[in-house]
Structure formats: C-alpha cells, structure tokens
Symmetry: C2
Subunit: 406 residues, 2 copies
C-alpha cells in the first residue's frame, strides 16, 4: 500500500505554487509558475532515482528502470497546469499519485519487469492555449508540433516562445517513446461518485468534445443617438447563439453538454454598441453521432441567425476529439485492483477530457476516478478527501503492477 | 467669418495624438496621450494670448479678456478625451471651434464686452472612469470631487492619482468660476441631419441617461462533467437580461435607447461554466417619466430573473442625469445666428450626453450640431465635412457675439 500522508504532503507542497486567496491554484500552462511547479516535481523525481526525458512539446517522462528494459514502460501521468480558477487536485493528483507509486516501490524495494514511467503532459487544460490536451495530442499525432507551437494566448504569446522561455523545450521527438500501457488517476470533476457514495470510479469512456471560436461582427456606434432600428449590435446577436448552445445540449440528455465560457466584447465601452463579440463554444457528448448532430444543429442555427440579422458571423472549430472508450484490459486491471483492495466502486463516464484519451491511441489505457467535493472542479474551492486520494493511488499501484509484473 | 482651413488643420494636428491604424483616435481620459493632447491645446491657447486656469478636477479654462471683466464670461467648450475606438471630431471639434472663434476675434481685432472663455472638461466620455461627463459634473455640483477622485479604471487606477500623475490637478475649486452663457458645438453623432440634408442642428434638449453595473453570480464548474440541470451559469442568466435591455428600449420609441456595451466574464475560460458576469446597462429617453418607466421595468425583470433562476443578481446605478432642455435664449441665439448666416437647419434632440447639460445648471446654455458621416461616432471611422465644421463654428462665433456684445 502507498503512503497516503506523503501523497497528501506532496499535493499541498505543489499547491503552494500559484496558490490563490480562495484556496485554489492558478498556474497556467507555460507561465513562470508552471516552470516552478515543473522544477519541483522533476526535483522530487530525481530524489526518487528517476531519469528524466523531455520532448519538444515539453512533456516530461520520469523513468524507473525495470528488470527487462527492452519492454515498453507501464506509464501513468496527468498534468500540472491549472485553470485560472483551478484547484489543488485536477491533474496534479494524477502526477503525484504516480510519483507516490514509485516512492512506494522504492520503499518496498520492489523490482518490476517492465519499466515504470510517470509523465506530465504540457497544457492539458487548454485554458491559455488551444488545442486542449496539447502535449499528449502532439505526442499521439492528433495534431502537429507546428500547430501547437503556433498557438497563441490572448496576449499574443506563442507556445513555442513560452516553452523556450521557461526552459522546457526538450530534445526528444514527441511520440518517439514507447508505451506498454497507460493509467491515469484523476478526481471525477462531477457529482456522480459522491452522490452514490462510492470511492473508486472505473471509467469506461470519455465524452467526445468539440470546441469553437465564434465571432459576430456588427458595427460599433454611439449608444445614445443611434436609433434602435438602425443598430448592428454584435452582442445582442451573440446572446441568441449563446442561449442556443445550452438549448442544444438540453435536447440530448443525459450526456449532452453545451457551454459558453469565454467572451470578449469589442470595444467594451459602456456607451458604444458592441461592434464585435468573440466567444467560445464547448459541445460534448459520449455518443459521436449525437455530438455530430449537436454540431450540425449549431451550424444551422448560426446560418439562420446570420440570414435573420444580416450580421457577419464566423465559426471555426478549434478542438475536436471523438468519444474515447478505454481498453478492456486496462479497465479490467482497474476493476481487479479495486476488488482486491475492497473499495466500493461504480462505472463513471468522464465528461472531462484527459491525456489518457490520447495515450489510448498508442497503447491500452484506463482511468481511475476518485470523488471530489460537490463534484466541483475548475473552481478554487475544488476539494477531495485524503482517504479517497489514497485509495485511488492504491488502485493505481496494483493496476500498474498487474501490467508491469514483479 | 472664421477660418475653416485653420480649424481643420488644428483638428488634424490634435488627432495625431493617439491616432489609430483605422484613422480614429484612442486618447482615453487622464492617460499620457490625454496629457499630450492637453499640452498641445494649452500651448495653442497661450499663443493666442489666452490666460489659463485649471481646477482641481482638471477642467481647463482659457480666457480672452473683455472690455468689462466684471461681467461673467461667455463660454464655449467640450472635451478632448476619446473613446477606445474614438474619432477625430467628437469633443475635439467643440474645443477647437472655440479656439478658432478666439483666433478670429484676434485677427479681426474685435473686442467683446464680456470676456470669452474656451473650456475643455475632464473625462467626458466616461469610458475609462464613471461617472460620465465627470469634469463638468463636479463643476456644477452634480456629484462631489471626492466621488470623482475615487473612481477607478479596470486596472484599479484612480482619477485622483492619474490627474496628479499627468500634472493636471489644478488649484481652483471646481465651480468657483462664473459663467454668463455657455455654447457647445458638436458633431451630431446620429443620422438625423445627414438624412435630412441639413447643415446646422439646433438642439432643443438632450436625452436623460441612466447607467448601471449589473453583476450575476453563479457557480464556476467544469463544462464537461457538470450535468446541464445542476449548473448555475452566470452567463446564460446574463444573456436574458441583456436581451431585455433592448426589448425595453424598443417598447418606448422613438427616443427609448437600451445598450449593453461592456461585459466581463469570470473566469473567462472555455471549459469553465462562468461563475460571475459583470456588465453595463445604458438606458436613455428624452422624457424623464418614460426613462423612469424603463428603469422600473428593468428592475422588475431582474427581480423576476432572480427568483426564476435562484442566482444572485446585483444592480447598481452608476450614472444618472435627467433629460435637459436648453435655455430658450441660447437656443434662440443659435437659431438667429444660423438664420443670419443662411445655413439650412432643423431641430435635433441629442441622444448623447454633453458637458453642456451640466453647464446648463449654472447658466443659460445651448448647443450647435453639425452632421457626421452616416451618423457614426464612437467608432474610428467617424467622419465629418470641413464645410460643415466651418459652418458650425461660424454659428458659434455669431451666437457668442450676440451674448458677449461687441
Ligand atoms: N480534466 C480536464 O479538466 N481537462 C480539460 C479538458 C476538458 O475541458 O475536458
Ligand atoms: N457625446 C458623448 O459621446 N458623450 C458621452 C456620454 C454619452 O454616452 O452620451
């Protein structure tokens, strides 16, 4: 069994970097704080005797040799970048649970046949830069290194520049790195486990996701003298689309999701009719056919709105991945470990994307969920119980050992 | 008659400070650029022999003595701060037309009985800081100097600090400065004169205005795993109110106006359900009773939305002034000057607020409008014809001379 106190202490230590007043963490991908977080974790890995490899998109692999190093490693991992209003556990738990597995194997002087690796992937959150799950996406070839390097944040800084600046543009070609099997532990980020009072969520699949940038262009003009009938108000037209995003999701329960999370209004002055509004759209479903129907309905609504209002509306898809069912062998490994350890359990479909879905394109993969308080994440009040985090880490240890063999 | 070429040349010179790529001007109140603009105009005034007084809110009065300096000055003026997407004429025209009147009197060696003053008022636009029309508002006692000093921009900088920083916090107590009569020339900022093909707009009144800050507080949570039915999406609730603002204005034609110009979404991340949205509301009408009805309907809608959604919604009025009819004597002075000069003319109600409405609380006041291209202002493509600007300035000269007496 792993050491739950040590795992908790490491989580709390890492959470100090970018700690917010409300008890959360703001450590956006490729910022100075991200560098500090990376340095801390890499330092711990070295203390644990792991060797470090960094690839060109900044993914970091921390390796514990096996007795047969010709075998591909059994890998676990997640991310340490956070949302602007992020918590202490999202991603960070998956990385530090991996480190705790290694520390436990060291303590118990257990040698595995296959090597064990702990990875953290660059810019999983997709909050500062899109595409989301960038590091694992480049790694598995979902999109190119050039696409990723060219991504810019709202201030115009690019992934390529920022990686270089914080010293995490490594030499390895992304993907040029074998994986035997991949496991990822994560807080659920939803309310299902807590509601059902279960400790371990076995994850059969992750919902597919489709992200868009929508830009509505009207005509900025003075809010006082411009008669109502002559306006081309980009915000008013945008609000119709924003409402439709939610209406579409509501038409496809229980797994339809629709969110507008980011809005920029131009010129954003009280007495100026908005001339341009840019906003994000996030659609999800666990069924790819339904996700596609939602996509089509949204495009149709935008066409209708364009012709009804006469305003220019552009819509561009900026991220997409289909729903991802996990590999039966890995799902079973998680199920077996949970049963062996005697934790209460149920299956939970993941609404959030995870690096595991990209790893799943290269190797058998599976995930382990633990409950988080009120199902809340992407919020500074995100919280989880030490005993649940410990249980998830124990399941990870046993699932990895099943694949890596002693 | 005034010198139209000289007026145009001064306008183009001032427009270089803060010039934007699209041909507009971005010179926000109390920025370094505002200081440069102020310095330029003050320099011109000194060259024209005017004496300068600056008050504690940064209003600048540029004076040409009369033959009887015991008489209160006949004043003209406007503002030189602009919108973020501002043009070359809004405000700037009113100040430089005043300067052109003085230059003309100098050229023709005309002595007036009452002194002549040209003023520019601080932060008319209200774009960086509220309340709007801040300098003239403090001057007439509509709100206090302390309120104005305490106003902060989105970066947290205050009016008091910024005035000090740019060196325009003067010694004079605001309002401690007599005015005999006040005239203001301005581009119409609406389409009425151009549509009717008239050169001079006589302004009987300015619409009343009510500005609000509305904050909707929900709960930020992950856009993927959070079921639609469990969300407290602050943006979705905000879009209802945003649409109602326009619906209310449409119920009170022809002078009802409703605009949401400024929106901030928190945390503004694609995969986070917005936990808080702050936005501005701008309601206007030329009839104070109708403006009040609009106000009441908005509050009632917000109450209804609050109880329907369960989200916290706060609404605060941040600016208000009632409709302002101008003084019959000043309106007549404008009418007479226009008739004498033979320009085509009509009455135009102003939808935009102007410093003249605050001056009107202390002295008889009136305004002169000239057409602007397509009725567009608060937009970088704002444009006006040199011949119209010249005509407005000639009307100003004659209206001021009627009051100041030769
Ligand atoms: N786990 C997680 O928050 N991933 C970010 C991508 C998403 O929005 O699902
Ligand atoms: N003239 C002008 O643009 N004034 C700003 C205040 C308003 O929004 O009416």
């Amino acid at each position: 069994k792993i050491n739950g106190d040590r795992l908790w202490a490491s989580l709390m230590e890492l959470a100090k970097i970018g700690a917010t007043e409300k008890g959360g963490v703001k450590r956006l991908a490729l910022t100075d704080l991200d560098k500090q977080g990376r340095d801390l974790v890499v330092g711990w890995a070295k203390e644990a005797g792991l060797s470090i490899t960094i690839d060109q998109i900044g993914n970091v692999f921390m390796r514990r040799d096996g007795t047969n190093n010709a075998l591909p490693p059994v890998m676990t991992g997640s991310h340490i970048d956070t949302q602007p209003t992020g918590g202490k556990f999202d991603g960070n738990y998956g990385v530090l649970a991996g480190l705790e597995v290694v520390r436990t194997l060291n303590d118990l002087k257990i040698k595995t046949e296959a090597p064990i690796e702990v990875a953290f992937w660059t810019n999983e959150e997709g909050s500062r830069f899109v595409p989301v799950m960038m590091g694992s996406g480049v790694f598995c070839g979902a999109f190119s290194l050039e696409t990723a390097y060219a991504a810019r944040d709202v201030d115009g800084k690019s992934v390529g520049e920022e990686l270089e600046r914080i010293g995490y543009k490594g030499p390895q070609v992304p993907g040029d790195h074998p994986i035997g099997a991949y496991f990822e532990t994560h807080i659920e980020q939803g309310p299902v486990l807590e509601d059902a009072d279960k400790v371990i969520g076995v994850v059969p699949a992750v919902m597919g996701l489709s992200w868009y940038d929508c830009v509505v262009t009207g005509m900025e003009a003075h809010a006082g003298p411009t008669p109502m009938g002559l306006r081309k108000d980009a915000l008013q037209v945008s609000t119709r689309i924003m409402q439709e995003v939610v209406a579409i999701a509501n038409r496809y329960p229980p797994y339809g999701r629709g969110t507008v999370g980011m809005v920029q209004v131009f010129p954003n002055s009280r007495n100026v009719i908005p001339g341009e509004v840019k906003f994000s759209i996030d659609l999800r479903n666990v069924n790819d056919e339904l996700l596609n129907t939602m996509h089509e309905e949204m495009l149709a609504f935008i066409d209708k709105t364009r012709s009804e209002t006469g305003l220019k509306i552009s819509i561009e898809r900026v991220s997409y991945y289909p729903p991802c069912p996990f590999h039966p062998e890995c799902v079973d490994a998680v199920r077996n470990a949970t049963a062996k350890l005697g934790y209460s359990t149920m299956d939970v479909v993941s609404g959030a994307g995870h690096d595991a879905i990209y790893a799943a394109r290269l190797a058998p993969a599976g995930m382990i969920f633990v409950p988080c308080k009120d199902g809340i994440s992407h919020n500074e009040i995100e919280d989880a119980k030490a005993e649940h985090l410990e249980a998830g880490c124990n399941v990870l240890l046993h699932a990895m050992l099943e694949r890596a063999r002693i």
